[in-house]
Amino acid sequence: MSGDGECTHDDWLTRALGGERAAFAVLVRHHQRAVYSLALRMLSDRHAAEDLAQEVFLQLYRNLGAVSSESHLGFWLRKVTLHRAIDRLRREPRHEVAALSEAELPASEAAAGDPILDGRLRRLLGELPPVARAVVLLRYQEDLDPADIARTLRMPVNTVKSHLKRSLAQLRERLTSTAGALT
């Protein structure tokens, strides 16, 4: 491979598999936003999210040989991030009540739409049980369909649909009880 500019993500993966750390750094840079966002929305804590995201990439480095392609890498990262976050929430339930306040949100997150309503939605999301939260994040943040969510979280598709339906009803109810909007 001659020029770095010509490399596809699969090329970077192959080079990282060959032990090239710079290539691994490219993979981290490419996927850091997705992994950190999932961790942040799951844990509602910036430091915990950063720590978890770093652990996920470290686990990736140790198990890079198990990843077969760039698309598999995305799937692997989502799966490991969410399972680790769910495990951490079960071990340390304090994260469940420590939802991010609107003031803690970065400017990029509160840029469009109604920042107050968005912040309230994110806080209500943080009150959902960990697995339901993961399902909602995969659906509305990662834009996965129920079949892909089921594969990622290793659960039946109907369970995914139940989680989505129940979570949406719960969010709607809590939101309308406080704001009277989005019926």
Partner: protein, 124 residues
Amino acid sequence: MSEDMHDDLENTPLERRLRAALTPADPPPGFVAGVMARVAAEPAAPQRARRSPAVVSWVAFGLAASVVLSVLLAHQWQVRRIEQGREARRQLLEALRVTDEKLDLTYRVVNAQPRAALPPHSGA
């Protein structure tokens, strides 16, 4: 649960709001450097665990060849067993035929002896 339940979930105002609210967040500056510092502390570089397509095809070929060989050997063994059975049957029939001939010969010899040679019948 019906399939159209999924359709019910699409494009409600709440879902549109959720999509807008859940835009990805940027990690703090220095995140990649932090990851790479932890990677640098790892004892060894990752090993390529996945096999190349050539290795995979050779493994598949080897497996297929051993299966075919096993089937052939089993077939040979079965054919030999059948032949051994036939040979045993032929030898048994031959032995029966020889025995039959000997018995027949003995019977004829016994019958050909003169009755005078037999001891007189006493007690009349």
